[in-house]
């Protein structure tokens, strides 16, 4: 019975997104549509990063690197898969959808594997080493892509076709993936594993004493988080006809950190709000581009001093509307 309800509700969500996509395509200018897509991609990034930075309390500041791995991986696999799948399914929306989603999954796989490679040595130790290793990883991966000839070096990868990568990224696919990933991370966060992750954040030594396999859980959470960043990267790559190493500079990681800190570290709804905020602020601060990062940096420091828990803390938005005091994670939910 529960399975039926689940499948039905998933189908309903997809239908709603499908319906909305017509509205968005008719009602908004191309520029606004782009921002809506970016907001969706940001939500995936923020919710995924929040799993490791917020829920588990291990700080990654190089997630743009995983996003880059996913973007390049999805773009490359998508280009190479196009011919065989078209020959089986013929041209059309179905074949494109299959190619796109396989490509995204491949990107997520590569990003997840690199997450394992980065996470395994650094997560055995105290969390702050992860910050340094991920920062270094983000830089190195960009240098690697900058020098990888088969991926276009510094010019970027645009596929074999002169018109660039096919524009697979539509409103429907972005928000279908947003719902899938939010659901996945939400269920994970509120599962037993999720509580173990929270325990690691609150007190690693105590968690270990309670027989929580801390290293294994940290590495798993980190790999999942890297894989979701990979999905976002794949969506991003197919939104703009190609991937350039320049798109994944340290600034991108900073954007992600701002997203999760504004909303509240450890809050999924907070991460969603932060993702939308950052996408919207690109538009709102269009004339202030060169000041944007200065303002973000100040914002980070001020939030840390004044309200380190962010807008929502570790709570969720819907808890605000419950009767009585908002339930803390772990007390129910």
């Amino acid at each position: 019975m529960r399975a039926v309800i689940r499948i039905a509700s998933a189908g309903a969500v997809l239908l709603v997104i499908y319906g909305l996509s017509f509205g968005v395509e008719l009602g908004f200018t191309e520029y606004v549509q782009r921002i809506v897509l970016l907001a969706g991609i940001n939500i995936i990034l923020a919710v995924g990063l929040n799993l490791i930075n917020g829920t588990t309390g291990q700080f990654s500041i190089g997630h743009a690197g995983f996003m880059a791995v996913g973007a390049y991986g999805a773009a490359f696999v998508g280009v190479k898969l196009a011919a065989p799948i078209h020959s089986v399914l013929g041209p059309g929306a179905l074949a494109n959808g299959v190619i796109f989603n396989l490509a995204l999954l491949a990107g997520a796989f590569f990003a997840g594997i690199s997450g394992l490679i980065v996470g395994m040595p650094s997560l055995r130790l105290r969390g702050d080493y992860l910050a340094v290793v991920t920062l270094g990883f983000g830089e190195i991966i960009r240098i690697l892509f900058n020098n990888a000839a088969f991926l276009g070096s510094a010019t970027g990868y645009f596929g074999d076709d002169p018109s660039g990568l096919p524009a697979y990224t539509t409103f429907f696919w972005v928000f279908a993936w947003v719902s899938a990933i939010v659901a996945l991370i939400h269920n994970l966060t509120f599962s037993q594993t999720g509580r173990s992750l929270t325990a690691i954040r609150e007190d690693e030594i105590a968690a270990e004493a309670m027989a929580t396999p801390t290293t294994r859980l940290k590495v798993t959470a980190f790999a999942i988080s890297a894989a979701t960043a990979g999905i976002a990267g794949g969506l991003f790559a197919h939104m703009q006809a190609g991937v350039r190493p320049e798109d994944f500079r340290f600034e991108k990681s900073v954007d992600m950190i701002v997203m999760i800190i504004i909303g509240g570290l450890g809050s999924i709804s907070g991460a969603i709000i932060g993702g939308i905020f950052v996408a919207a602020s690109l538009e709102l601060m269009r004339d202030l581009q060169q000041y944007r990062l200065v303002l973000y940096a100040l914002l980070l420091v001020i939030i840390m001093i004044v309200r380190p828990q962010g807008l929502l803390g570790t709570g969720e938005l819907y808890q605000l509307f419950r009767r009585g005091k908002p339930a803390k994670r772990g007390e129910g939910a």
Binding site: F59, D128, L135, E139, A206
Partner: protein, 305 residues
């Protein structure tokens, strides 16, 4: 053999710059258990202060007349940069780190990242994002020893770094403040109970670490010829890796780590490929985290609840 000696000399001079910066990381980490991400930016501000100080002392007119910049003025530039960076370090500590000192560990870490970003981007607005040619506060003299090219700049870098490190060693071992620093890094609460003004000691730690980074900044400018507002990111990271390699919290460790990282970088650039010179640092970091996380000269500390 000649090539090896050449890389050795270049590596040691680069490594002594890393060592100077690594000292600041290791001192702050030893006391506050905080990775001071803004340290690389203090290094950058130090280099720029030197740049502007040399400019206002008329380095251009000396260059135009093909005269070398007088040594006492060069020393003045160094002192000005060190003083400015010390002030900046103390200001950062007071404004950003002190309010979050007792917060959970993640909060100071994010604050440090924020301060670092702020200084990078403020630097780009103030100093322009374009690289600047560093003024010749020391005119280069080359000489050959057994076929190896040695410049007075490389020797000066090595000598200045050595003097500063010796000075730091004496300071930490022989003065009251130095002893207080060691007490704080051993156990900050016990130090407080012994009547040590921890705020004052932390302030001097930041001042000294930042001044050393500024000296590193000027030496870096002399060595690499150009500076830019983002120079602190990669150099700061490498210096941090140096501190981890030597054993974070250990002052001799930072020196050893810095020299080793400098050597590894030069040897990679010389024998493998210059493209990998930045990557080797992180390979070293991952190896050290896997094999000996406490570092070469560090001590294993059991974490207690």
């Amino acid at each position: 053999m000649t090539q090896f000696l050449q890389q050795l000399i270049n590596g040691l001079s680069l490594g002594s710059i890393y060592a100077l910066i690594a000292l600041g990381y290791t001192m702050v980490y030893g006391i506050l258990k905080l990775i001071n991400f803004a340290h690389g930016e203090v290094f950058m501000v130090g280099a720029y202060t030197g740049y502007y100080a040399a400019g206002s002392l008329g380095v251009a007119t000396f260059e135009a007349r093909h005269q070398s910049f007088p040594l006492y003025l060069a020393l003045l530039v160094l002192i000005a940069a060190m003083a400015a960076a010390a002030l900046l370090g103390v200001a950062i500590e007071f404004l950003a780190y002190r309010p979050v000192r007792s917060a959970p560990r993640l909060t100071p870490l994010i604050t440090a990242i924020g301060v670092s970003l702020f200084l990078q981007n403020a630097g780009m607005l103030l100093f322009s994002p374009n690289p600047q040619r560093y003024p010749a506060i020391l005119s280069e003299v080359r000489f050959e020893v057994f076929g190896v090219i040695v410049t007075n700049i490389k020797l000066t870098i090595f000598a200045v770094a050595l003097c500063l490190m010796l000075g730091l060693h004496l300071f930490v071992q022989k003065t009251w403040t130095g002893r207080a620093m060691r007490a704080l890094s051993f156990n900050i609460d016990a130090a407080k109970l012994m009547g040590i003004d921890t705020n004052r000691v932390i302030r001097s730690t930041f001042a000294i670490g930042s001044a050393l980074a500024a000296a590193g900044g000027i030496l870096f400018g002399l060595d690499q010829i150009t500076i830019n507002p983002l120079m602190g990111v990669l150099t700061g990271l490498k210096a941090f890796v140096a501190a981890v390699l030597g054993g974070i919290g250990s002052i001799p460790g930072a020196v050893v780590g810095g020299l080793l990282i400098g050597l590894a970088e030069q040897l990679t650039a010389g024998y493998l490929s210059p493209e990998y010179r930045d990557a080797i640092t992180f390979v070293i970091l991952i190896l050290i985290l896997l094999l000996k996380p406490e570092g070469l000269l560090g001590v294993v500390r059991v974490e207690k609840v």
